[in-house]
């Protein structure tokens, strides 16, 4: 066992670092949170910049236009872009991190050709149409119907938590194609163009005040049968591939960011007056921060182990993703609570307050609550760990 990077890994890191130093100063200022067209333009422009430099789809296979980087190089990429303060994946999230990889693994050559190059170049934005008001944790009970009509499916139903729907070109959509089959066996995975007639989008406001979520109402939307990925009624298996990507690597960049924010909290603690000294002199608070830093170190080590296993294995992330997500979101909750305790009354402003860079910590305290719900709640993750890793029997339905 070792934790060393190879010479070629270090070369990759050095080149990437040098490139980031060159390009980041040229990036225009970030648009306003509510200006979705501008945000789309900003995020996709960064994606184009990545593409032109050969960094788009870093972990995608070469034969679909990706860089085909090893899992270790992928880790280095996430680490260095985060460290340099490069733009986050933003509206490209669904396309790059799960729809794209799912297409790469499951789609026909025509489907890959139609979408993957455009996703990589930042020309195509995707959203996710999986959850429904009546199908959250029990996703397989989804009821959005797709009825075959010649060479089209006619889709009617309602989707929710559809991130970036207002600016998306396509939607990865789960629909019920056989209402009589057992619930896992009547689902299909469709590529739905977002400019199809019959789609109505209603933005949802999150507790953080942001508007990336939507509800999506589908009324007789016609989707070509050739837009189906995988066989008819085999969509649940395809969705499992999507989940493995969603849970597998999507949080690595997050972890890097969180480790940096712990250091920022130390800086805030040193300059925060408390009990006649600084907050950093409070034994309890200081050790709690030490504890959280230790946990984040451990999660970094766990990531390195998952990466090694991915490198030796199939390339599709394994169940280690569930272990990581569960542990990471728990730490994030405790870190958020600790940050709020440290900020005290400064936490009552969602923006930076009196020169303290507190806004990001308040925002992330709220975001932690979404982490333990999105992409499979912590309770669902515990079921997965209990049943698929520990081999405990399912609770009978």
């Amino acid at each position: 066992m070792d934790l060393r990077y190879s010479e070629s890994d270090e070369r990759f890191r050095a080149e990437l670092r040098a490139w980031l130093v060159r390009v980041l100063p040229k990036i225009p200022p970030k648009p306003a949170l509510e200006d979705w067209p501008a945000r789309r333009a900003w995020d996709t422009a960064w994606q184009r910049t990545l593409f032109d430099a050969g960094y788009a789809g870093i972990n995608w296979p070469r034969d679909v236009g990706g860089r085909g980087a090893s899992p270790t190089e992928h880790l280095i990429f996430l680490e260095e872009t985060e460290r340099a303060g490069a733009p986050y994946v933003g509206v490209n999230f669904v396309g790059l991190l799960h729809a794209g990889p799912t297409l790469a693994a499951e789609a026909t050559p025509e489907q890959k050709q139609a979408h993957l190059p455009r996703i990589l170049r930042g020309e195509e934005v995707w959203c996710q149409g999986f959850s429904e008001p009546g199908a959250g944790s029990d996703l397989a009970s989804l009821s959005t119907r797709a009825v075959r009509d010649g060479d089209h499916y006619v889709v009617t139903g309602q989707k929710i938590w559809t991130s970036f729907a207002q600016v998306a070109d396509y939607c990865e959509l789960l629909v019920r194609t056989d209402p009589d089959a057992p619930k896992h066996r009547g689902i299909s995975w469709l590529i739905m163009p977002m400019d199809s007639p019959g789609i109505e989008i209603q933005p949802l406001r999150t507790i953080a005040g942001s508007t990336e979520f939507s509800q999506m109402f589908l009324d007789g939307v016609r989707v070509p049968v050739e837009n189906r990925v995988g066989e008819e009624n085999d969509g649940w298996r395809v969705a499992m591939v999507t989940f493995s990507f969603e849970r597998g690597t999507a949080f690595v960049g997050e972890l890097v960011r969180t480790r940096a924010l712990v250091e920022d909290l130390v800086t805030i603690a040193r300059s925060t007056a408390r009990n006649g000294g600084s907050a950093w002199e409070d034994d309890g608070l200081r050790r709690d921060l030490g504890h959280i830093a230790a946990e984040l170190d451990a999660l970094w080590a766990l990531t390195c182990r998952n990466i090694t296993q991915a490198e030796r294995g199939s390339g599709v992330p394994g169940l280690g993703g569930s272990v990581f997500k569960l542990a990471y979101t728990e730490v994030r909750h405790r870190l958020g609570d600790l940050a709020m305790k440290l900020l005290d009354r400064a936490a009552l402003s969602m923006d930076d307050f009196d020169g303290i860079e507190s806004g990001i910590h308040v925002e992330r305290w709220m975001q932690a609550m979404s982490l333990s719900i999105a992409a499979g709640t912590s309770q669902i993750q515990r079921n997965i760990v209990g049943e698929r890793i520990l081999g405990l029997p399912k609770e009978s339905a």
């Binding site: 066992m1 070792d2 934790l3 060393r4 990077y5 190879s6 890994d9 270790t72 880790l75 712990v262 250091e263 130390v266 040193r270 950093w280 034994d283 200081r286 050790r287 709690d288 921060l289 030490g290 504890h291 830093a293 230790a294 946990e295 170190d297 451990a298 999660l299 970094w300 080590a301 766990l302 390195c304 182990r305 990466i307 090694t308 296993q309 490198e311 030796r312 272990v323 569960l326 542990a327 309770q379 993750q381 515990r382 079921n383 760990v385 209990g386 049943e387 890793i389 520990l390 081999g391 405990l392 029997p393 399912k394 609770e395 009978s396």
Partner: protein
């Protein structure tokens, strides 16, 4: 990056696992309670033959491996709750004659840690006392101690030490600091072994115990306890393996910080999983007859070795400043 066991490490892990199964099945471990000093010299010798103590001594006298591999061995010893002064004898190899072969049992004491308690005193051939000035060798016969009538861990007899001689100087402060760091990594490895063993015991019981007409492991309330146990063990294990690697190769990270974090998380995982295992076992888990309490009690004992949790949390915090 190769942060997973290679073939040699897997073979080493399997080898020590087999040794533990053969020499230390839980009934044999429980029977050691009746031995003087709580140890069996023949078994100790066999651990020596298996290379447990000479593991990190250079060849030809030792096996020539690093902390990276030692944590795998001590994880298995913890998993089997093998009792005795395993870590101190391992650390004393190459410093105290006869330690590396298993011919002599080397106990240890932290001089400035109170109350001053030492385990397995009657079985010890040598005692190493650790303080900030260095390592000191003491003849156990020269130590005045009172037996603790009812030790928390029944498999670790304890003495309270009233009078501790200064002893013969073995090494200086720098070596003492390294002793503490390596020792903390090995304790953490044993704690991970306990945490992992508790997951296995709880899961096995949850798969067979029936209530309300079905096995209790099918209930989410029980399943989620087991899942949390696994998470704690896995996170702590990753931390401990990383600490081992960094102790061997300081260029790959901040080793003292990694050891501190690993020791902290592993201690918590062992105690929390020890308790959860009893909870999953229900009323039977609260009986002396069922083994579950032995793992929890050993976890509590190990938590008090090589520093306290709050000291290690402090040590991690110091690296943030």
């Amino acid at each position: 990056m190769n942060f997973d066991l290679d073939d040699g490490e897997r073979a080493l892990q399997q080898g020590i696992r087999d040794v533990c199964k053969r020499l230390f099945p839980i009934d044999r471990v429980r029977a050691l309670e009746a031995e003087p000093g709580g140890l069996d010299r023949k078994l100790w010798r066999e651990l020596g033959d298996a290379g447990v103590f000479a593991l990190r001594l250079p060849e030809p006298d030792g096996v020539g491996l690093g902390v990276t591999q030692a944590v795998l061995v001590f994880e298995e010893l913890g998993h089997a709750i093998v009792p005795g002064s395993l870590i101190s004898t391992h650390l004393a190899a190459g410093i105290v004659d006869g330690a590396s072969t298993g011919d002599r049992i080397v106990g240890m004491l932290e001089r400035n840690r109170t109350p001053r308690l030492v385990g397995h005193l009657e079985a010890a051939d040598d005692l190493v006392v650790v303080d900030s000035e260095g390592l000191w060798l003491i003849d156990p016969a020269s130590v005045k101690g009172r037996p603790v009538p009812r030790p928390l861990d029944p498999l670790t007899p304890m003495h309270a030490v009233d009078d501790l001689p200064q002893g013969e100087r073995l090494a200086g402060g720098e070596e003492a600091a390294r002793w503490r760091l390596d020792g903390a990594a090995l304790v953490a490895a044993m704690q991970v072994g306990i945490a992992a063993s508790c997951v296995e015991q709880a899961v096995a019981y949850a798969k067979e115990r029936k209530q309300f007409g079905r096995v209790i492991g099918s209930f989410q309330a029980v399943k989620h306890i087991c899942a949390d146990m696994l998470i704690r063990a896995e996170v702590a294990r990753a931390a401990v393996y990383a600490a081992g690697v960094m102790l061997d190769d300081p260029s790959s990270g901040n080793a003292p910080r990694a050891v501190a974090g690993a020791r902290l998380l592993a201690a918590e995982a062992a105690v929390a999983n020890g308790k959860a295992n009893i909870q999953v076992h229900g009323g039977m888990g609260y009986t002396w007859e069922i083994d579950a309490h032995l793992y929890l009690k050993r976890a509590m004992l190990l938590q008090t070795r090589f520093g306290r949790n709050d000291e290690w949390a402090e040590e991690v915090a110091r690296t943030l400043a």
